[in-house]
Amino acid sequence: MAQAASGALTSAGLVRAEIDGVLCGYATTLPHLMLANLFCERFSLRPQYAHGMAAGGATGAAMLMLARELVQSGRCRNVLVVAGENRLSGQTRDSSIQTLAQVGHADFEVPNGASVPAYYGLMASRYMHEAGITNEDLAEFAVLMRNNARRHPDSHLTQEITVADVLASKPIAEPLRLLDCCPISDGAMALIVSSEPSVGVRVKMVGAGQAHFHQHLTALQDVMNTGAGSAAKLAFQEAGLTTNDIDYLGVYDSFTITLLMLLEEIGFAARGQAAQRVRQGDFSQGGVLPLNTHGGLLSFGHCGVAGGMAHTVEAYRQFTGQAGVRQVKTPTHAYIHADGGVMSSHVSLILSREG
């Protein structure tokens, strides 16, 4: 976290004293009451506004949205948004899986021996049934994310895979197989949201929206309307833009089904057609709508809140020409989406390049 935060300070050309707001994501391996204070003391910051936040996988995007509210209202000038976790090495894999499974309902779901992949497996079965999705369709996204991750020096998973490899991988919670699931990783991310534009390329958050329809999978009333579309609509309305204006995507991908459902519900592909867009190359680095060029949670890795922030960090790098071999044609408008729980908390952000 310190390394990520130092990197963000350097990149923004700011010194510690200029950070007057700090938002810090929760960590399952460090369930502390005051994580932002803990971080600030250790990193030597004395902000006038600071606290931790928790909205599951949507936490990173939710912190960025709040950071913008704080600078827009005049409460803060420079808000450091930071998260990190040693989710892989800080606990046993069993302990991690068990902790995460508790996002299920304590009385109605968890007692059945349900796991996070089981909640997503159930959701996948219903969505595949209603939208006519195949396992091959899901697998396309695993392959795309792996190909992208192979170009990022910090990726967790880089071994080349094919659609056949995904289909042949171990069943975890069918229809989801091992390669449909993200790994458990270590990592940290930091971004600074400022009231005044930095020097050089300016990236502005021009729209944001949220939606929270349910917490648990069983309470998800309609797989075709999880809240993702509602959150996106708010963001697009505020930005005065449509999906057609977007030329870079950073979309949450805890499982292949997550990514496919989000793209279709938000409208970046027609129902049942997202995989076809992958096959056409639309979402590839050189395509019309590059998607998660860092490799996403599926292959870059899932280190908790920081994993969900990586999509925005990568968008920032693409805007500012810092993506190296992953660089796409400089984006004009990027759409970011994160979800927490089982499509439970949704946060949409629209970032635009200025200057």
């Binding site: 007692p111 796991s115 309470a219």
Partner: protein, 128 residues
Amino acid sequence: MTNNQSVMTSLAQPYLEGLTEHVLRYQHCSACARAQTFAHDACQFCGAESPGWHTSTGRGHVHAVTVVGRAPSEAFRSLAPYTLVVVTLEEGARLMGHATPGVQIGDAVTATFFKHLDQTLVRFEPLG
């Protein structure tokens, strides 16, 4: 002071006690006459407070299905692979439970009960 967790748990007590008696209970709003998924302080549709509890026929249709190959804890490892479903009960509430392997979305099922370690759980079996 009351422990928060026990307050939250007690809301579902009629359902949990029903399991040990091999009956399926669900919350029902007397104001708008709609069945509730889970247990709520107020009706999820009209907001009327304190929905009461009714007994379900236990029959319904499979809404979603998965086969868990990787159990989340040691307690369930001996059962793996096991089939989990979300069923839409005849009365309209949705409920998660175990199921007979091979059930498909849309199948008509009925609730049976089984004991795993010290807990009574629901297993949905094909009807007829």
